[in-house]
């Protein structure tokens, strides 16, 4: 019999390091139902686990006990898809800066901690179930103008026929790294989506390709944003602090300038 070594070896789940935690988790059966915080005790949590792996362990226990596991959004588990979205101890994506929930590891907590886990709360993001919310408003804002109107014929200019100064390209890239997670909305006392929208508007405003439609774009996206029930921006800045991609609040200022310029144009 050939025996090949299997590399999925247990090294971290030793009892000495295991933490005991109290979890207070928002449970809500569906959009219409009343929700409430429910308490769970979880033992032997390894500091090397990611936060979502800790949630997996909780769910495994719940299923084995015949209870309904906690529903939450997640997919890539490496901080890029923007699906994970937990409000942990009162902060979007938890206590660390520049990371998503899925990148948070249990070493950021200590034995005996009580952790409060809630969904994003905002008029623009209704709860679907437990910790999962509906962020389709972001898609609709994008559909209103977050694009360059160029058909996919491949009959465009040669890519290098449009030089872009590196500084602009880098800034446009930084704005474009927004993952659409919605932490900015969740952390804003007004529930404003300005950081998300500002980032998209900025990406195109900084690039020559975006210029022909710049005024329509900003007007249409802002209009859709307002219709979705997101609040106004009053320059509090919580969004920038809690944004896992550190999207700069400068993008909001740039969007405001674009918007004003669009209004002046009439």
């Amino acid at each position: 019999m050939t025996t090949l070594k299997y590399n999925h070896v247990v090294i971290n789940n030793n009892m000495e390091n295991g933490m005991n935690l109290t979890l207070k988790v928002w449970r809500q059966a569906n959009a219409e139902a009343q929700g409430q915080m429910t308490e769970y005790k979880l033992g032997n949590v390894s500091p090397d686990m990611s936060f979502l792996e800790m949630m997996d362990v909780l769910n495994d226990e719940l299923i084995r006990k015949g209870e309904d596991p906690v529903t939450f959004d997640h997919d890539c588990r490496e901080g890029i898809c923007g699906m994970c979205s937990m409000f942990i101890n009162g902060e979007a994506h938890g206590p660390n800066r520049g990371v998503t929930t899925c990148q948070l590891h249990m070493r950021s907590f200590k034995d005996g901690d009580t952790i409060y886990i809630e969904p994003w709360r905002s008029a623009g993001f209704p709860v679907v179930k437990d910790l999962m919310v509906d962020r389709s408003a972001f898609d609709r804002i994008q559909q209103a103008g977050g694009f360059v109107s160029v058909n996919t014929s491949g009959r465009t200019l040669d890519a290098n026929a449009i030089p872009v100064p590196k500084a602009d390209a880098d800034k446009a890239f930084d704005a474009a790294t927004c993952i659409g997670c919605g932490a900015c909305v969740a952390s804003c006392p007004n529930g404003s989506a300005m950081l998300f929208v500002g980032a998209k508007v900025s990406q195109f405003a900084l690039l020559p390709q975006g210029h022909p439609e710049r005024f329509d774009r900003v007007e249409n996206m802002v209009k859709q944003m307002d219709e979705e029930g997101f609040g106004n921006c009053s320059n509090i800045g919580a969004c920038e602090v809690q944004c896992p991609k550190s999207i700069s609040i400068e993008n909001i200022a740039r969007m405001n300038r674009e918007y004003m310029a669009a209004n002046l144009k009439g």
Binding site: I11, M49, D75, C76, Q142, G146
Partner: protein, 666 residues
């Protein structure tokens, strides 16, 4: 079954032009009456849906995430290839074609790969026009980097987030069409069956993941862009939801599955840390441009490092073994993935691994910090810069290039890769196998297409880095929009397809029955338990090295897992509502069947090629040994109703333009 690949005649470099000139067209008025379903909104799906809608077809697109922008393509890091020759380093369409065929170890179709290389340059033009912010140099022009298996720089990138930027480009094109009403987007929907009427794909059955409703959707063609099946291994670099269900259900309805055992194990991933692990994280291949891979030269050093008595940074140069540079001087750290992965495994199996599990090697940036630092000092005219200043400047350059990857590493491992080398180990990453498609990307079900990672078409037995993004966008933007018309031209007078047809009723019934049986078995064990077990078997016996004995054992184990699964799995919660455990269970059921087929396929192929390494077939130096006179074919498997008794069909591979050689990167 006779496999007709529909490759046009004529010289290689004229086939695609000739095809486009003669393919039938559908006029704009008729397009408005034709429905197309696109399942999946990754690079392949989003680009296909947007392009078809722009052309005038009525498109419905589905994804299981809450937004099309979150498809797994978003996670691609390193870059996308294109034969632009902007670097003037001798690149050309032919060279990209040649590299891809050779990289795939001579198990891909010439005509498809040539077409891919041909349209590659358009992709970059298209993406730039859409506002994709690729990396640029100080002159404002596009920058390139190198990837494995090539000796030119043809990889376009956006830091370590190339997939994100490309997908957001395709998503914006898709959003534009949704806004115009040309695409109906169904988020949080999972396709669970293809409906075939009189031999033609006429629609799908999908489950609304929020309400649990089972829905019928009809169309004149169905395009599957549902990604790869790497998660059959449980641990992989794929997103948690990536699955084979859509492809597998099509397989059960008549689409052949090609080369399922051709899976890619990527050499540079963060090693496994514990049994709580839910997924593995890739460290992009682009890092091999600047990182050097090594293990200690002497066992006692490896042991001391494992026992944490010695730090890698303390080990002198002459006590290190840069084994890729040693074994493959011509390509060095940039050998293709299959070669690099096996070499890492070889060193670790021999006892030179460097973390507690003994299964990790170093990826070290120290010499790049120094090289870039010196360059910076020269550029800035700092002739008296100290060593520390030079290293600090070098680190800044590396941060510019790979900052997000370094940060990601630190988040997971809690070590700073600017101060100590990264530890890496191979992990499952990509699947070259997939639904068999002809030159038009049509499966063996008429009117059912497969694009992107879901098909088998372009990468043979090993994919080169930065070529999946290229293929996904080529399929969706530039190939399918032409080929689908050739079929739909016959559908202009079909009219709306009714979802009341008995085939729709039967397919829906089938899905309902499966769901009910999963709920009604009185099981007690969570789905993940079975998935982990399956993954371990496949990793052990159908992973980086395979053998006849091991594969036979794996097949019998998988059959046991299947039985156990249906008897003992527990699905909590409700049928008619949000239920992620139910979603997982259906995916795992399909993974079990696929896993068995992968082992069968690997057992059948008595040779080593690319990612498929059969221990019995290797050269004296431990390199893969192909057996061309027997196995130069695509293995296309047919479902028979019994997952343990599939039928093998063969499509011979013909090489008219490239001389088949044994692959050498020395």
């Amino acid at each position: 079954m006779e496999l007709i690949n529909k490759i046009p005649d004529g010289p290689l470099d004229q086939k695609w032009t000739k095809y486009k000139n003669t393919a039938r067209l559908v006029n704009p008025a008729n397009k408005r009456n034709i429905d197309v379903i696109v399942v999946g909104t990754g690079l392949a799906g989003a680009s296909a849906a947007a392009s078809l809608a722009e052309m005038g077809y009525k498109v419905k697109a589905l994804c299981f995430q809450d937004s099309p922008r979150r498809a797994h393509s978003i996670a691609a890091q390193g870059g996308i290839n294109a034969a632009k020759n902007y670097m003037n380093d001798g690149d050309s369409t032919y060279r990209l074609f040649y590299d891809t065929i050779k990289g795939g170890d001579y198990r891909a179709r010439e005509a498809n790969v040539y077409r891919l290389a041909e349209v590659s340059a358009n992709i970059i033009d298209q993406c730039v026009a859409q506002g994709v912010p690729f990396a640029r140099d100080y002159g404002g022009l596009l920058d390139n980097r190198s990837f494995g298996g090539t000796q030119v720089s043809r990889t376009f990138y956006a830091k370590g987030q190339t997939g994100q930027q490309l997908l957001l480009g395709a998503y914006s094109a898709l959003s534009r069409q949704v806004g115009k009403g040309n695409v109906t987007m169904l988020n949080r929907h999972e396709m669970l069956d293809v409906v075939v009427i009189d031999g033609k794909a006429r629609g799908i059955i999908a489950r609304n993941l929020v309400t649990g409703a089972i829905e019928r959707h009809s169309a004149h063609a169905v395009v599957l862009c549902t990604g790869g099946y790497g998660n059959v291994f449980f641990l992989s670099t794929n997103a948690m939801g990536s699955n084979v269900t859509a492809a597998w259900r099509a397989h059960k309805r008549g689409a052949l599955m090609a080369n399922p055992c051709f899976t890619q194990i990527h050499p540079t991933c963060i090693p496994v840390s514990g049994d709580h692990q839910s997924k593995l994280t890739l460290m992009s291949e682009s890092l091999r441009n600047d990182g050097r891979i090594w293990v200690p030269k002497f066992k006692e050093d490896a042991e001391a490092i494992r026992a944490k008595k010695l730090k890698p940074t303390d080990l002198a140069e002459d006590r290190r073994d840069y084994y890729l540079e040693r074994r493959y001087p011509a390509f060095g750290n940039l050998v293709p993935r299959d070669v690099a992965s096996r070499a890492a495994k070889e060193r670790c199996d021999a006892g030179f691994g460097v973390n507690a599990t003994g299964e990790a090697v170093y990826l070290d940036f120290a010499s790049s910090f120094e090289r870039y630092g010196k360059q910076q000092a020269t550029v800035k005219g700092l002739h008296n810069a100290t060593h520390d200043e030079i290293i600090a400047m070098g680190k800044k350059v590396v941060e510019q290039k790979y900052g997000n990857l370094f940060q990601m590493y630190e988040q997971i491992v809690a070590e700073n890769p600017y101060e100590t080398p990264m530890m890496i180990y191979p992990a499952v990453h990509y699947t070259m196998g997939g639904l068999w498609v002809d030159y038009e990307l049509m499966t063996t079900i008429k009117g059912c297409y497969a694009c992107g990672e879901a098909n088998f078409s372009d990468h043979g037995a090993n994919r080169l880095g930065a070529s999946a993004l290229m293929q996904g966008l080529a399929d969706g933007y530039f190939v399918l929009p032409y080929t689908i018309g050739n079929y739909l031209a016959d559908e202009i007078s079909t009219g709306k397809i009714s979802t009341d047809a008995p085939e729709f009723v039967a397919a829906e019934d089938n899905v309902r029955k499966q769901i009910e049986s999963l709920f009604n078995n009185n099981g007690t064990v969570p789905v993940d338990h079975f998935h982990r077990k399956l993954g371990k078997i496949i990793w052990d016996y159908c992973g980086m090295a395979r053998s006849e004995e091991g594969l036979k054992f794996a097949i019998s184990e998988i059959q046991k897992i299947r039985e156990d699964f249906f008897k003992n799995v527990r699905i909590p919660g409700v049928q008619n509502g949000m239920n992620p455990e139910l979603e997982k269970a259906m995916r795992v059921a399909d993974f079990i069947d696929l896993g068995e087929l992968m082992c069968k396929d690997a057992l059948e192929r008595n040779e080593s090629c690319g990612g498929h390494f059969r221990e019995e077939y290797q050269t004296e130096e431990g390199e893969a040994l192909r057996v061309d006179d027997v196995y130069n074919y695509v293995a296309a498997w047919e479902f028979t109703g019994n997952p343990s008794a599939p039928i093998l069909n063969k499509e011979p591979l013909v090489y008219d333009n490239i001389k088949v050689q044994s692959r050498s990167y020395k």
